[in-house]
């Protein structure tokens, strides 16, 4: 494959973007659409004290859950940890800080980060101490809102069905989920793709993530875990 933008690379090169204490944002929803190869690389890197930002903590053996099970995270920003009891246990034991955000608001905060906005004003969970406790409030047109800060990360990792050498991405069905949002919010965005196709092979209409948001592409070997329903 021609590589005129030098974005197509391998796991070895990606490793240098992983470091202790980093903020990492990951795509996926219950593990569906999470990048298996990039997550395994993170595990193998041995990097720790991570702050992980994403929809949920997956399952103990699925998606980002593997990283949490290995004790590599010090903090998680997510909407849900219920499918990964190890995350709940670590939280209860004081070994993992968890910041909960309502699911759609989390998605919007990530999008706002990618779109270069400072925050959004939301009326979700205003009466809930865990959601609103540390948040500032703002009254607009006589209605009170929470100020929900934008989220960005040093590195974003996403999973896509197809990618071209510029980094344009197309997703597969519900594996799209948070990936297009996460792809925009990383200072460095790395996409693991099932298939790399030549430049010009993707219809400009079907591209969901324009390549300008993607810094590196690595080919994927596909999901390496067993789903809960299997």
């Amino acid at each position: 494959m021609e590589n005129p933008f030098n974005k197509i690379t391998d796991i070895k090169h990606i490793m240098k973007y992983y470091h202790d204490g980093m903020e990492l944002m990951f795509g996926g929803f219950g593990g569906v659409g999470s990048p298996p190869g990039l997550i395994d690389a993170l595990l193998h890197s041995g990097k720790t004290e991570l702050t992980l930002i994403g929809n949920d903590t997956g399952f103990p053996d699925i998606g980002i859950g593997k990283v949490i099970r290995a004790g590599r995270a010090k903090k998680v920003i997510a909407s849900h940890i219920g499918s990964n009891p190890i995350a709940g246990q670590l939280m209860t034991d004081g070994k993992l800080e968890v910041e909960f955000s309502p699911q759609g608001i989390l998605a919007e905060r990530i999008r706002a980060g990618g779109m270069g906005l400072g925050a959004i004003l939301s009326d979700i969970g205003m009466d809930n101490e865990i959601v609103s406790g540390k948040k500032k409030r703002f009254t607009l047109n006589e209605k009170e809102y929470l100020v929900e800060p934008a989220l960005t990360a040093e590195v974003s990792i996403v999973y896509a069905k197809k990618g071209d050498p510029y980094g344009n991405l197309v997703y597969d069905k519900s594996a799209r989920n948070t990936n297009p949002l996460v792809a925009m919010a990383g200072s460095i965005t790395i996409a693991e793709v099932e298939e790399i196709v030549p430049l010009g092979n993707l219809n400009p209409e079907e591209i969901v993530t324009p390549g300008i948001f993607v810094d590196y592409l690595i080919p994927s070997s596909g999901v390496n875990w067993k789903w809960a329903w299997e």
């Binding site: 219950g30 569906v32 759609g104 009326d123 979700i124 809930n128 519900s174 949002l181």
Partner: protein, 211 residues
């Protein structure tokens, strides 16, 4: 319960179903009824469960279970899926709960010190869907009423529930008052009253449900 909830769904609605019993609701709908089932991860137009062996790992509902899609379905990112909810386009959500208060407060996201799943999309759905229906057993595993004067667990959203369907009865919540409207056979009003830890009004005419 799922069968009764299915009666609330009418042609052309957009409906979000929670995990557990709510996910059984489509089994009780006439196959010709056009309903767009919504999933928070980014699907509008979920169809039936695929046959064993023909599941697609990249086509799952918000609970992570394989699904299919109907004609007219679309995929979107999760931000847009929740935009549909917050802007009031979802006609109905049917979800499970740990507790519901007599004024319609919902508590279904956390049991402090025990279970900390996180709210997921429950706050957006319960605050913003046009109609919120809770399906839950009338009592918990210790026999305690899950309908209460005031929820003892932390709230998901206040004053949001429109209808509660338990294994014993159906209640509507109107003007922040709990009203018994239907009884599942063979339960009586007296039995429901005994198992319910809060007062409730009775509708002038109470339907007996005998499926």
């Amino acid at each position: 319960m799922a069968k009764r909830a299915a009666e609330e769904i009418t042609e052309g609605m957009a409906v979000n179903l929670g995990i557990g019993i709510p996910s059984l609701v489509p089994n009780h709908l006439p196959s010709e009824l056009l309903v767009m089932f919504h999933a928070e991860n980014g699907i509008l137009g979920i169809g039936g469960t695929p046959l064993k062996g023909s599941e697609d790992e990249n086509l799952c509902n918000a609970g992570g279970l394989p699904v299919s899609v109907v004609p007219g379905a679309s995929y979107c990112d999760s931000a847009t899926a929740f935009g549909m909810i917050r802007s009031g386009k979802i006609d109905m959500t049917i979800l499970g709960s740990l507790q519901v208060s007599q004024t319609g407060d919902l508590a279904n996201w956390i049991v402090p010190g025990k279970k900390v799943p996180g709210m997921g999309g429950a706050m957006e759905l319960s605050q913003k869907a046009k109609k919120v229906i809770v399906l839950m057993k009338h009592t918990d595993k210790h026999g305690q009423s899950k309908l209460l004067e005031k929820c003892t667990l932390p709230l998901t959203s206040g004053a949001c529930v429109d209808m509660v369907i338990t294994n014993m009865a159906v209640f509507e919540i109107k003007d922040r008052s709990l009203v018994l409207t239907e009884l599942f056979s063979p339960y009586s009003i007296e039995e429901v009253t005994e198992k319910t830890d809060c007062g409730f009004l009775s509708a002038s005419k109470i339907r007996k449900i005998e499926y």
